[in-house]
Symmetry: C2
DNA sequence: ACTTGGCACTCGGATTCCGGGAGTGCCAGC
DNA sequence: GCTGGCACTCCCGGAATCCGAGTGCCAAGT
């Protein structure tokens, strides 16, 4: 089939371009791949592919370069995720196993991913809203000052200082703690608001004022501020992206430093486990239109709690990158689930 | 005095070079500064300065550029820290005041500093070893699994999971907690090891095994792993460092991603409050020999607990940078002390 | 209907070759 | 010790040139 060969040509172009970073011409294509036809034939195919918008030439009489659409077809139809070798998998496992707490897991994972892919890696902390309360503590710091500590089962710790208008003694503190804990322990964070709704009313007078302050802060912690954290690594790899790419480093770095952007990159679709690839302009973030983003969800227990992935030039090794991203996500999920 | 004028010339060269990023010649120097002498005279002074190793010419018959030593003299003898304007100070204050917890303070500060200086900013978390125990909690996760949570008065939270060989029930957990808490609460972390040394012996049989495990983990947390954390911001500014500097971005980024390097940059001299400037080769870190590092300690209460600072090209605006660094450090210290 | 070899053509990138100008060092005179 | 003058150096930018990889198209072959 002619159509088949055309796709084979596209695949070859993508592979060669990713490998060499140079526009690829018809001659070198037939030399490096056994396509069984002459350069002239390839040229015809190329013209067709160009008409379809899958490849383009930087200037007349230069080789061809895949377009974003070309990569899209490559990823969707022409490539398979490349699994990690056994050795690599072992390395990942042993590297991540040493982690002592959540921060450590996140940090190790993101660095590992950056190293594996030689790109910029990012990882989102497990979503607070999806996890439950492992422990809640109230500590008296001063007569009118309470430290509220909330630990979730994903390992995240949130702490907040509550200033109360009235003095709170140990006894009151203890009673508040008991009431709150019996309502929220083990509950999902999303349910906490409901569970503590009427606690305030169980206190009278001054005590109610204090309780209200504590509850308000608690609600703030679990509801209003379900701000997600993101960790980044491998920005040094940006410099490698390339010779030609150099000028574009700045906007990318800038975008990557903006937490909100990172979160958008990792995708609203927090619930999806699917390996997602967004290529070039498919990213709505300005300044990242020359980059691709590969993300996947990772799970804690049997629920997807957050995303991780990498950002790289559109001309990246998609199969390999996808393999690394998927592998790391699996290991992260496993580690987190074990440590739970 | 001739010597005085020479230094004035050096100052003028540094200022012009920092402003223009171009080698500065004798003519433009007399034009831009009122030195009251002719270009020829300046040339003589320049020759002398070059002999002293304070300036250099990139190539014969080009203008002069300050050497690391030249910057050194400039910083030590020719410049004063430039204080922030009232407006700037207000901006700093209001920006940092919104912080809700330690992470937030660190993050806001480092970003602010990056923005103020247009360079890469770094901040070290308050040293664990210098602070004391605000709260310690043991939470039973499973029959043989305990979560150890340690909160220091600087706001840092450390948590660790302890696996015990034997089952620990609520009663035992409570007794362990009481014993430990009464020994360590309010104590400095450095003293914790001594205080808990003989707690293990207060338990018998199986209980001792469990207690030993908990104490071991606790010690690990406070002693062995006084690993310091560092936060980074403004790497996008690296791209601005410059036209000529571009090629050097990679090693700098790499160095900056290595935590150990960051810590070395911030200086072992954790106890010093002094504004420190390390210029070019004065940094022992490889790959950063074309950069300068400006650091200063910040305090919590009346003790210096960590350092913060910026990394930039040797041709930076030293007075301004020093002013920003010092100002931010003061505000951070104030905020932390207030929130304590 | 495809494929293929041939061929003229295009155009970007590297190379070379000036010319201008900024800057220097030195010297003689004030 | 300062200054104007002067010869010299050498970087930088632009124009001109050349080279070659690559293309598109066509006519012929299967």
């Amino acid at each position: 089939m002619v159509e088949d060969r055309r796709l084979a040509v596209l695949r070859a172009i993508v592979e060669d371009y990713v490998a060499t970073h140079e526009p690829v011409g018809s001659r070198s294509l037939v030399e490096r791949h056994s396509l069984g036809v002459s350069p002239a034939t390839i040229r015809n195919d190329m013209a067709a592919l160009e008409d379809e918008g899958l490849i383009a030439q930087p200037h007349t009489s230069a080789g061809r370069v895949p377009t974003d659409q070309g990569y899209r077809v490559f990823v969707d139809r022409l490539s398979a995720v490349k699994p990690m070798s056994a050795a690599e998998r072992r390395a990942i496992g042993s590297f991540l196993d040493g982690a002592v707490d959540l921060d450590d897991v996140m940090q190790r994972s993101v660095r590992l991913l950056a190293q594996l892919t030689r790109q910029v890696a990012l990882i989102q902390y497990p979503s607070l809203t999806r996890s439950s309360v492992r422990h809640l503590e109230l500590v008296g710091l001063a007569p009118t000052r309470i430290l509220l500590v909330l630990i979730s089962d994903s390992g995240r710790v949130e702490q907040r200082v509550v200033e109360t208008a009235v003095v709170v003694d140990d006894d009151l503190l203890g009673r508040m703690r008991t009431r709150i804990v019996e309502q929220v322990n083990g509950q999902r964070l999303v349910d906490v608001a409901d569970r503590v709704a009427d606690i305030t009313e169980q206190f009278q007078g001054d005590e109610r004022t204090a309780a209200a302050a504590v509850i308000a802060t608690l609600l703030e912690t679990v509801v209003e501020r379900h701000e997600e954290r993101v960790m980044l690594a491998g920005t040094a790899n940006l410099a490698t992206f390339g010779e030609d790419f150099t000028g574009a480093v700045r906007p990318v770095l800038e975008a990557l430093e903006e937490q909100m952007v990172l979160l958008r990159l990792l995708g609203e679709s927090r619930t999806t486990e699917a390996l997602t690839v967004r290529i070039g302009h498919e990213n709505e973030v300005e300044g990242l239109s020359a980059t691709s983003v590969v993300t996947v969800g990772y799970s804690l227990g049997d629920e997807i709690v957050a995303q991780l992935g990498v950002v790289g030039p559109t001309r990246m090794d998609y199969p390999g990158t996808m393999g690394s991203v998927r592998a790391v996500a699996r290991y992260v999920g496993r580690i987190l689930t074990e440590q739970q």
